[in-house]
Symmetry: C2
Subunit: 405 residues, 2 copies
């Protein structure tokens, strides 16, 4: 019998009615002759509630105790899901991350999986049981509970699929799969049947919120093929796997828009070695993730450094930069929040030229000004005016022949 | 440094404000040079909420999954309590029952403690940390979570105090200690400074709700001295320990009234061997706890069997008895719910005669009719009319010289 690992996120198990639906879907899979391991998240909202209580008793709760507290959310869901399966006549047993043998490093709230000892899960599968595993959590070598941070339940599912050599891994979420563009913005957006790990990673970094990069990276490293699909219908989703040859026929796989970035310009920097390093060291020390970086130097040896950071971090970025400004020549900092980043992604770009030219011409024809440009092997990103971002996405989608009929 | 085990019940940790108060009290103890292990329950109401969710997904949830679900309640409280201690500058670490080395048998929802491997707790104490342990739960030899049933957190505290050879064990609750009678009913009721295990056990079985018998039995068996006291003030409570000689000077330690019993009369039974056995076998199979039992046989060989059961179980008792009535001679069942059980308890009774006579005379003088009577070595219980129970308690309290000044 083939083994399928399924993952249900917080919205999919949001209340008891939803949990019953998840149980029905698991039953549907079992009834088709598969063995199932289901990874579930905490009910949507529970983790936020727990953290609020933590802050009510302690202004700066320790990560170790936060993990002990937050892991409660998934533990509730696994028990309820197992019960809902019992009510459907399916033999099921629930396991916390620790009980499922998910061993992590010693870091709390952002633990990394070190190893999975899947014997206990395998023993239950051999008894014919469906196993429900708490996502997002494991234990470290001292037996303390650890959690993985955002997107942690996806990681649990993909790591378990790898350890158990599952035939399939299904990530159930509240969208139907990965689209060529955001369907709420681009009318002609189509769901992709498949996509490569690298494209999925570039789409994630380009602002498409389907999954965290970390889980996709893990899947790529361990060659776990997984399918992103909706828990609210039985439609096929998007299969994510290593690049395959026919994929190259498609030059651009998708268009993504990220409206959560802000542009920061550090101007009038003395163009001498080490200036840029000082700027980005200061931002890194403040744990600010910098995305696009562009530098240009004028004739007079005065440089401008432009980059994008998450909008939520702009104040933190300004504060972090204040102390270094004098060191680097008394430059000054300007922040522009009224921008968006538009990206086109596709492994086909590796072997096709002209993608950048087509993108720029499409935008120019619509009189949309391009501010910054960065490129990677399979992605081109441009910063444009926020107000025209949706229009730009529609135009680009059409330019690259992605519109459905 | 002396070690104190403290236990805080569900009301004491009922919300974040209460949890902060508990942290202050633990800090108070630590500041006096003690090492502290604190056992905490789930916030009042949480367990009920979780069970309601269980029944919403499954009409008959499995005990194994109920344990997985319910243990979440204490796990939340231990983390929040540890955080609240951190906010008070006290180094603290939280442990689930399993992490604290509390090993149980394989029974779910009513597990019994088999052994405590206290090494992990001791290691943290040696590091100077305060250890917060989840009450009510342990793990079995398969590593599955088990829970202990009602009063389970008291049991955790007393068992840990025994395993850790603690100097003191303090059970914090919402009452000031054990009283000679219910102070809401008997104006002159006084808090007892000390009481023996046996008296405490008889008071519990007589309807005094301070603690479950099970924890007191465990304390008696392992000779754990503990103090019952309030978490809402700093008053001294009641110390519970083995009988000591001067205790015998007091004949009656306390008066208890139980209004939750109902009287069942099975009449017209053929007085032949095995009739009573059949009745009580049927009740036991229906897990109904029978308290007082009285049988009297008339001249004609027709017997009446009278006993008391919890009021909540009267319907279940009638149903359980239906099939056996014919076997035992076609007797019939009558239920009287309008009764109360009044008990006087004291180890001094062992060596003093006349207690029963004093009790009966006191009630007779007030024209209160006695229905059933049972006695044990240190307790006399009578069933009387419900409406006169409070008055009877006040009279009895006075008769035995228990009234305070």
């Amino acid at each position: 019998m083939s083994l399928i690992v399924q993952k249900y996120g917080g919205t999919s198990v949001g209340d008891v009615e939803r949990i019953k639906k998840v149980a029905e879907r698991i039953k549907y899979t079992v009834a088709r002759g598969h063995r199932v391991v289901a990874v579930v998240s905490a009910r949507a909202g529970v983790t936020t509630e727990l953290i609020a209580r933590a802050h009510a008793v302690c202004p700066d709760p320790s990560d170790r105790e936060l993990d002990m507290l937050m892991s409660v959310g998934e533990q509730e869901t696994i028990a309820l899901t197992a019960m809902a399966l019992h009510a459907n006549g399916i033999e099921a047993v629930s396991f916390t991350g620790g009980q499922a043998g998910i061993q992590t490093d010693m870091v709390h709230t952002k633990a990394r999986i070190r190893a999975i000892n899947a014997e206990a899960v395998e023993a239950q599968l051999d008894l014919g049981k469906t196993v429900i595993v708490a996502g997002f959590q494991g234990i470290n070598e001292h037996g303390h509970v650890t959690t993985f941070g955002r997107g942690g339940s996806d990681l649990t599912a993909i790591a378990l699929a790898s350890a158990l050599k599952a035939e399939r891994c299904e990530i159930y979420t509240d969208v139907d799969g990965v689209y060529t563009a955001d369907p709420r913005v681009v009318g002609g957006a189509r769901k992709l049947d498949e996509i490569s790990y690298d494209e999925m990673l570039e789409l994630a970094s380009a602002g498409s919120k389907v999954m965290q990069s970390r889980s996709v990276e893990f899947a790529k490293k361990h060659q776990v093929i997984f399918e992103v699909r909706s828990s609210f219908n039985y439609n096929r989703g998007t299969v994510v796997k290593e690049e395959v040859s026919h994929m190259e026929d498609v030059v651009v796989r998708g268009v993504a828009v990220d409206k959560d970035q802000a542009k920061v310009i550090v101007s009038n920097i003395l163009d001498k070695p080490g200036s840029a390093a000082k700027v980005f060291r200061a931002l890194a020390d403040a744990t600010i993730v910098v995305d696009m970086i562009v530098q240009n130097v004028g004739r007079n040896g005065i440089a401008n450094l432009t980059f994008t950071v998450p909008q939520a971090d702009t104040r933190k970025a300004q504060k972090a930069l204040d102390p270094v400004l004098e060191e680097i020549g008394g430059g000054h900092v300007a922040v522009h929040e009224h921008i968006a980043k538009l990206s086109v992604v596709g492994v086909g770009m590796k072997t096709h030229s002209g993608v950048a030219a087509d993108l720029f011409k499409g935008l120019a024809d619509a009189d949309i000004n391009i501010d910054l440009i960065t490129t990677s092997e399979i992605k081109i990103s441009v910063v444009i005016e926020l107000d025209r971002a949706d229009e730009a996405a529609r135009i680009t989608h059409r330019v690259f022949g992605l519109d459905g009929e």
